[in-house]
């Protein structure tokens, strides 16, 4: 297979990589770019652990070919904190203990941020539907939903 040269932007930085034509964005992020915050759960778009945004749109990176992101803006969990300062969502996940094993957490955070970027004042039902594609086998979701609602509240005050 001939490798493909891709120029893209990841978390605001111009990035280039070579990939196989059938390589997923998830694999490139983790294996070639060392961005292992994005997790692989199912690999078939069911669990949301590999959530990233492409041009602001929330997607499962396991269902995107790396070659597709040429010229796009990719955002991953690594771009969420501002240096050492956690994003309000990250802080609220800690405050509410909205995680146990943590595998699903980066995906939840990226997905929740995509929601709040578009809707700063979601209802609990809207949060639950928006996050229906992110699976968590530890928390029972309630703490996650509370953390997102609380972060939204704090971000509206800021």
């Amino acid at each position: 297979m001939t490798r493909i040269h891709v120029s893209t932007t990841v978390n605001g930085d111009a990035t280039e990589f070579l990939c196989e034509p059938d390589e997923t964005l998830l694999d490139v992020l983790r294996e070639r770019l060392g961005l292992t915050g994005t997790k692989e759960g199912c690999g078939t778009g069911d669990c949301g652990a590999c959530s990233v945004t492409i041009d602001g749109r929330l997607v499962c990176s396991c269902l995107v070919l790396a070659a597709e992101v040429a010229g796009c803006e990719v955002a991953t969990i690594e771009g969420m904190a501002d240096g050492d300062r956690l994003h309000p969502l990250q802080q609220k996940f800690l405050d509410h203990a909205a995680l146990q094993c943590g595998i699903c957490t980066p995906g939840f955070l990226v997905a929740a941020k995509a929601l709040l970027d578009r809707n700063p004042d979601p209802t609990e039902t809207e949060v639950r539907y928006w996050l229906a594609g992110n699976l968590c086998r530890c928390t029972g979701y309630d703490k996650i939903v509370r953390a997102v609602m609380d972060a939204a509240k704090e971000m509206r005050r800021a």
């Binding site: 297979m1 001939t2 493909i4 196989e20 034509p21 059938d22 997923t24 690999g43 078939t44 778009g45 069911d46 949301g48 959530s51 492409i54 749109r57 929330l58 997607v59 499962c60 396991c62 269902l63 995107v64 070919l65 070659a67 597709e68 040429a70 997905a111 995509a114 929601l115 539907y129 928006w130 996050l131 229906a132 594609g133 992110n134």
Partner: protein, 287 residues
């Protein structure tokens, strides 16, 4: 495997027509990449159509709407004109998968994947939608119900690509609706799906209707007797009974883990009644 992202429909068609081995179109990829991972698809060539003009746009045309083949469910749901004109089609498209899936999945992909349980397809058939197909022999427009021929199979010939879906102009006082039954409220596959589109006159009498069923036969069903049960009525109890009976009669389902034959047949009638009443209300009829 080769990955190509052509800039024109003509080059995409040429690539698909000239491909040796298995060639697949990539728009949202939410079916294709899953099939590749599970080994059901081993493409020699993938043609990404997202860089072709018109594939990512929704444009008004002759009083209707033309939706590019790569327009995602999320983009459809955010389009005010589409939501106003065809709320049933939009709700069907938006039922597919999660937020993440909505960010990529397309109605054209839903149609070409040819699952009998595809959510957007009964709504499109009820809407009288057509697709524009580009191929080595030129362009043709085909009714949506003529595309799937069986589970996983379509009537598309080698080298042919669906470029867009067209939702026609509809009369004033028209409405459509899509309902599906799933055991879970989200992230599930239809046990039965029903699309209804209808028009009413100023007295609330139904003047035209189309009813389509999903997940109860190898392909989507356009149920003409069900539509006839509604036309000329104000969707009174007798008409709704006749609608439900016609829908149940048209079903040719299978037993599987999602539902039995008997269950699907019954639910098709129940859902058709409910969908028809929603469409009727949206059209400005009473109730």
């Amino acid at each position: 495997m080769r990955y190509e992202a052509p800039r024109s429909l003509k080059s995409a068609v040429a690539l698909m027509a000239g491909a040796r081995g298995s060639a697949h179109i990539l728009a949202g990829g939410t079916d294709l990449l899953v099939r590749m991972r599970s080994g059901y698809a081993e493409p020699d060539l993938i043609v990404d159509i997202k860089h072709i003009d018109g594939m990512k746009s929704v444009v008004a045309e002759k009083g209707g709407w033309r939706i590019g083949a790569a327009v995602s469910g999320a983009e459809i749901g955010e389009h005010k004109g589409l939501c106003r004109a065809w709320p049933g089609v939009v709700e069907a498209a938006n039922l597919i998968g999660s937020t993440q899936i909505q960010g990529r999945a397309t109605m054209t992909g839903n149609l070409c994947n040819a699952s009998p349980a595809a959510d957007s397809v009964p709504a499109l058939v009820a809407a009288g939608a057509t697709v524009r197909i580009a191929g080595p022999k030129g362009r043709r427009d085909v009714a949506v119900e003529k595309v799937p021929t069986g589970p996983g199979k379509t009537s598309l010939k080698k080298g042919e690509i669906i470029a867009s879906v067209f939702l026609p102009k509809r009369p004033a006082r028209s409405g459509d609706a899509y309902l599906r039954f799933t055991p879970r409220s989200e992230m599930d596959i239809a046990v039965v799906g029903v699309g209804v589109s209808l028009s009413v006159n100023t007295k609330g009498v139904c003047t035209a209707a189309r009813v389509a069923l999903g997940a109860v036969a190898p392909t989507v069903l356009l149920v003409e007797p069900a539509a006839r049960a509604l036309v000329g009525t104000t969707l009174d109890e007798t008409a709704l009974e006749a609608l439900a009976a016609a829908c149940s009669k048209a079903c040719r389902p299978i037993d599987d883990k999602r539902g039995t034959v008997e269950y699907r047949i019954r639910v098709a009638g129940v859902l058709a009644r409910r969908a028809a009443l929603i469409a009727y209300e949206r059209a400005g009829g009473r109730k």
